[in-house]
Amino acid sequence: MPGPLPDLVLTWQLDGLGAFFAALIAVVSGLAAVYAVGHRSHGPGFRGSGLLFALFVLSMVAVVLAADAFSFLAAWETMSLASFGLVLTDHRRSDVRRSAWMYVVMTHTATAFIVVAFLTLARATGSLSFADWSARSSGLDATTASLVFVLGLLGFGTKAGMIPLHVWLPRAHPVAPSHVSAVMSGVMIKLGIYGLVRLTFDWLAAGPAWWGSLVLILGAASAVLGVLYALMEHDLKRLLAYHSVENIGIILLGLGTAIVGRSLGLPGIVALGLTAALFHVANHATFKALLFLGAGAIDGAVGTRDIERLGGLIRRMPGTAICFLIGSAAISALPPLNGFASEWLTFQALLSLGRSGVNAATALLPLLAGGALALTGALALACFVKAFGVSFLALPRSPRAAAAHDASVLELVPMATLAAACVALGVGASPTVALIGALVPSATLGGGLALGPFDTSSGRLALPGIALALACVGGLAAAAPRLLGRVSTRVGETWACGVTLHPIHGYTSTAFAKPIRLMFRGIVRPVRDVEIVRRAGTRFAASIRYRAQVAPVFERYVYRAVTETLVLGAHLVRRAQNGSLQTYLAYLFVALLATLVLAR
């Protein structure tokens, strides 16, 4: 298709990598659309929002189909723009407007970086076509390649929500309608990963090892900090958004391993790391979409996303509860679900990279990353025990929570499907991974994956077996005691030191996270304010309010710092336009003289 500029042709092409992402987009968006129909009744919408959603999905597909820089950028920005419009759905609220603006500005700036990266490649290769780039990638000199890599990492990293460029993510995802957040978090940010994979494996030749190491470090940081900030949240959707940051970090760990492997010329490790990354992409798409849809169902039923106001929902919304529980288990990497499978692969990738024994530096970093990954897993577990336990268990903490009803069928079906997918991708991990392995390297590595990734040189995992064992032993544990005769079960009160149990006795999210908040206070910088109102003349408190939140370090030092500097500078420059004709004439005259003198 001839483009709107001379020597510009819009080219589209689907390869293995693209097909993989396209499939994800199709599945998740389809389910989200079904959910949206069921969710119509609550939440604000606007005329044409359906159309915009369709445009959003189409543009995402177009991104993975694009085969030249211009088509890619056009699709990419359309995607950002459509999602921006959808985030803006509830535009009467100022926080929504601010978040949406922040999102679109950051993503547009990121695109600027991508544009520069692309044009630098075009300058070096003399072409805009991706095919030419990969064909001529070996011709690039090292500095150019590194420049392009860094620019691309900034650009795609922002879209992916990589720390410290994640600032927009926990603001934009919560304010969007839930099915949109599901797609944004489940699929859209993955296109940042898609770009990184293309950049590092398709468009650029193998670079120096620090590329991968940088990605590893950023990945580890994103994973740990993401989950820590998630733990500090009690807005359900913000919590989930921070988990997207965490999971992007995990994906980056796999990707970084693959990149280092490529630099060191270790195809086995490249295959392992890339598979781990892409498999986690798929898995995160399933369970994060599921969780966002669940959060939407809760929001619709209770009218708030504040965990503190929920509680006891498992009895009132059993369907949502089961789906959300499965999703939580999957994202906390519990066997035999899919989250565990991909994190296992990531561990193996890191370990084998470390053991490839090139030198101490390349060996130690992956191991530390492994430690970070372990920490992340454990913290994620804590976070979802909190998220599920505090919102679904114990007693309802607000009248609306007490009166909640389960989601409609059209909302439940997509959730159930995704939950089933979490189990299937876990138990069926090896065939899935084999499929990915068959798809992807053909596009990126040239050769096929060298090994069945679940039987690596350094470890083995058979989740079907684990699942089987769990089932059998579980049955045993349930049955065996009966040999000792039957016992009766009596229903009684919960022990609350003799007073009758009140909802406020149950642990709140803030309380639940407190030990971790204190253990990691060096990082999350918690601030607390306690205000005690005493009864007149007594020492007895009439009311005690305790609020704890964490300092928004990145917003303050990354985002706000930049914007404030810009605005300050603008204020200074604007003095030049001082309204005086004489000054303006002086500008004109000086410009003339300067040009006359300087221009030669």
Partner: protein
């Protein structure tokens, strides 16, 4: 030929003197009279060249100069001056002495700049082009350092004069129809500014451009 050149040079120097004088003087009426002087000198230049070269349309140029620059324009300006009761340029941005120094400085710049141009072939007066350039510069200086709308007009017309002078001496004037167009424009321009000045005066009860500094940023 030679004498024509010397005459033109002499007139040019006189023009420069007149321009510098209008930098030095702060009375508005005097300023307008100095414009009349400038324009008359220009007309004389045109006439001299007409005599020397015998190019017919230079006579037209001379006539137009006299009519438009020396008579019509000053007339309009006096009209405006009559409307807005105002006689002196108060508190110019530069004191007279500094302004004069600046004027001289700009003249030097003009000479050096024009010196870079190969005008040896210029007919008939090589030394007049730098003068015209410095007239232009001085005009801008006037506009940039005076606060009253009228004095800025005076500066603007000085600029025009400088350009016109260069036109005369360097190229025997532009093709006639272009010339006429330019004169027409000058006339309309002065008319428009007169209208504007009077509107400003009736709206702000002053032609002090300090009042015109509301639009910023």
């Amino acid at each position: 030929m030679i004498d024509a050149t010397t005459v033109v040079d002499a007139l040019a120097v006189a023009l420069l003197a007149a321009a510098l004088a209008s930098v030095a003087m702060r009375g508005l009426v005097a300023g307008v009279w100095l414009l009349v002087v400038q324009s008359t000198l220009l007309a004389l230049v045109a006439a001299t060249i007409a005599v020397a070269s015998g190019v017919g349309h230079m006579w037209a140029a001379a006539g137009l100069t006299l009519a438009v620059r020396a008579i019509a324009v000053p007339a309009v300006l006096f009209l405006v001056l009559g409307r807005v009761a105002l006689r002196r340029e108060m508190r110019p941005i530069l004191t007279t002495r500094v302004a004069l120094l600046a004027g001289v400085g700009l003249t030097l710049v003009a000479f050096s700049a024009a010196g870079r141009l190969e005008l040896s072939a210029a007919y008939p007066a090589p030394r007049a082009l730098p003068v015209s350039l410095s007239l232009t510069f001085i005009g801008v200086l006037l506009m940039a350092t005076r606060r009253k709308a009228i004095s800025q007009l005076i500066g603007l017309i000085t600029v025009e004069n400088g350009i016109f002078l260069s036109g005369l001496i360097a190229t025997l004037g532009l093709p006639l129809f272009v010339e006429i167009g330019i004169f027409f424009d000058l006339l309309v321009a002065v008319g428009v500014t007169a209208v504007l000045t009077m509107r400003i005066n009736e709206h702000f009860d002053t032609v002090n451009t300090d009042a015109l500094r509301r639009l910023r940023g």
